[in-house]
């Protein structure tokens, strides 16, 4: 039977995505066993991130600057905004090197059944940004799930009155595919063959 303090830690670790109760217990015990090489550096890294990292007020990315390094990068094509669901999708797209424009993180997908409504996503921010900055093209790079595609069509409806082109990735994706699981070649092809949203 572990002390209350450790049980508390295990429960907190268990809330992290990808960690079930068993992995959380193993991770917590590992931290306790290696106070100098694991626990202290982790505490410091957590503290640094808490103090330094914030959400970019323009695109929703996580960074130590606001605007973030992507938004501040003057070498990027500032006429195009690629809309993705989550921060990890931005990272995946950026890593692939097939896209050198700006991003906008939506923060999820619409889901009427789960109560995720337009006001829970960064949709108004997107519309304002497109209008204010005179964005020429919005690329919708949302997952090939039912919710992802519903959200893409919804954004198409909301962007229609604005003077920008709306395209979406042309993916031969497996249905249910999430963007951040895609390999570089697939992302590259999907970006090159993007289509106007019907």
């Amino acid at each position: 039977m572990a002390a209350n303090e450790i049980e508390h830690l295990i429960r907190l670790m268990g809330r992290l995505p990808g960690l079930g109760p068993r992995s959380a217990r193993r991770a917590a015990l590992s931290l306790m066993k290696h106070p100098d090489t694991l626990l202290r550096p982790l505490i410091e890294a957590l503290g640094t991130c808490r103090d330094a990292i914030s959400i970019c007020s323009t695109c929703g990315n996580l960074d130590s600057h606001d605007p973030c390094s992507v938004c501040a990068d003057r070498d990027r094509d500032r006429d195009v905004v690629c809309v993705v669901q989550e921060v990890e999708d931005l990272w995946a797209m950026d890593r692939s090197g097939s896209y050198r424009g700006l991003f906008h993180i939506l923060g999820g997908t619409l889901s009427a059944l789960d109560g995720r409504h337009p006001e829970h996503l960064r949709i108004t921010a997107l519309l304002e940004r497109v209008e204010k900055d005179g964005i020429g093209e919005v690329i919708l790079a949302l997952g090939a799930t039912v919710d992802g595609q519903t959200t893409a069509h919804y954004l198409g409806e909301r962007l229609r009155p604005l003077a920008c082109r709306v395209t979406r990735l042309a993916y031969g994706l497996p249905v249910g595919g999430e963007l951040n699981y895609l390999d570089q070649g697939t992302l590259d092809a999907a970006m090159k063959a993007r289509q106007l949203l019907a």
Binding site: L110, A112, L113, H117, T150, H153
Partner: protein, 385 residues
């Protein structure tokens, strides 16, 4: 030479009928443990009510996608104070033998399905490999009762012409539930509703088209009935099906979108949706006098349903090269002995593995020596002959 040829055919698995070869039940309904081997012909189960005849048919029905012939909740299928239930079957099909296992997965409280030793992602994949159709006493009044029962039957029949039909119905129903949720608490966002209505209309047109197609194909087979039946004619009855008979698929889709957009206000108050394929019905009419089949006697209605299920089996055989397994629960008792004999002959001619149940062996006299008979008693089987 002839023997070698016959063997070659057997090896190639040119089996024109799907059939169970073995079935194992563990902790399923009133069966603690059962192991059964049968050949690919007709199987007759006899025994008192409550002995477990229908339970056995239900187990077989769970080798197809869905909730089985009782539409049961998963936990109901476990034997009292035992479980989780497990079913294992070996089938012979036109593509060779198939090993299937299914049961309740207690960690996710859902049904797992394994093909050989591979977990299938969803049950719907099962429908690709062979078909199972059934007629059970709870369907007896389907012709006179609410439209939902006939619609469910129609959608099951439509699988014979469109294997994706169930997936489309599920997609349609999900989009409709989402639309209701947006109408209820999504402040009626018009852009969102428009997207969801399009997501309803696309599968709706495909659903209506499959229903129309299967009805046409079944009508062609119901015109020369085997059971001394009044000739019956099926017809789709529904707004979307009606539009599709008059105009193109694209126009139908457009029209449904418009109708849904107009009914948002009413749907927000009443729930559900005023328009769509979930409101359609299947009309079954006595062909000569054009009278609804619901006015026929119960026994005649049952015979009509039987003829429909047999026509479906023939249709599936024509489309897939393989007759489905037929589960016919208590179908003989309502028929007089001449019609019972005619039914037995028709089933033999169908070239299918048919599972029949009845309280008494004498109901199936015409099958004597031409079928396998088992007696069921409190979850145990014994060989009759």
């Amino acid at each position: 030479m002839a023997a070698a040829l016959a063997l070659a055919e057997e090896v190639a698995g040119s089996q024109p009928r799907a059939a169970l070869s073995t079935l194992e039940l563990r902790d399923f309904r009133n069966y603690r443990q059962l192991s059964l081997a049968v050949d690919d012909g007709i199987v007759v189960l006899t025994g008192a009510n409550g002995a477990g005849k229908t339970n056995l048919l239900e187990a077989i029905s769970l080798l197809s996608p869905g909730r089985g012939l009782r539409r049961a909740v998963l936990a109901e299928l476990d034997r009292d104070d035992a479980g989780p239930f497990v079913l294992r079957a070996r089938l012979s099909t036109i593509d060779g033998p198939l090993d299937i296992a299914t049961g309740r997965d207690p960690s996710h409280d859902r049904r797992f399905v394994r093909l050989f030793d591979r977990n299938l992602r969803g049950q719907s994949e099962l429908g690709m490999f062979f078909g199972v159709s059934w007629l059970v006493p709870s369907m007896d009044r389907i012709l006179g009762d609410a439209a939902s029962g006939r619609r469910r039957l129609l959608d099951r029949l439509a699988l014979a012409v469109q294997p994706d039909h169930a997936t489309r119905v599920a997609a349609y129903e999900r989009a409709m539930r989402e639309r209701s949720a947006v109408l209820r608490d999504g402040a009626g966002d018009p852009a969102w509703l428009k997207v969801l209505e399009t997501r309803m209309a696309e599968p709706a047109v495909a659903i209506a088209a499959a229903r129309i197609e299967v009805i046409g194909a079944l009508n062609a087979r119901l015109r020369n009935p085997v059971l001394d039946l009044p000739a019956v004619e099926l017809a789709p009855s529904g707004e979307v099906e009606g539009w599709l008979l008059e105009m193109s698929a694209l126009d139908t889709e457009q029209r449904l979108c418009e109708a849904l957009a107009r009914s948002r206000g009413r749907d927000a108050l009443a729930g559900g949706a005023q328009h769509g394929v979930h409101r359609s019905d299947l009309d079954v009419c006595e062909a000569v006098r054009c009278e609804p089949a619901a006015r026929l006697s119960t026994g005649r209605q049952k015979a009509v349903l039987l003829a429909m299920v047999m026509a479906e089996a023939e249709l599936r055989r024509e489309r897939s090269g393989m007759t489905p397994i037929l589960l016919l629960d208590e179908v003989a008792a309502h028929l007089d002995s001449a019609r019972r004999d005619a039914l037995c002959d028709a089933l033999l001619a169908l070239d299918a593995q048919v599972w029949l149940t009845g309280t008494d062996k004498s109901l199936f006299g015409a099958l004597s020596g031409r079928a396998q008979f088992f007696h069921v008693d409190e979850g145990r089987l014994s060989n009759h002959e």
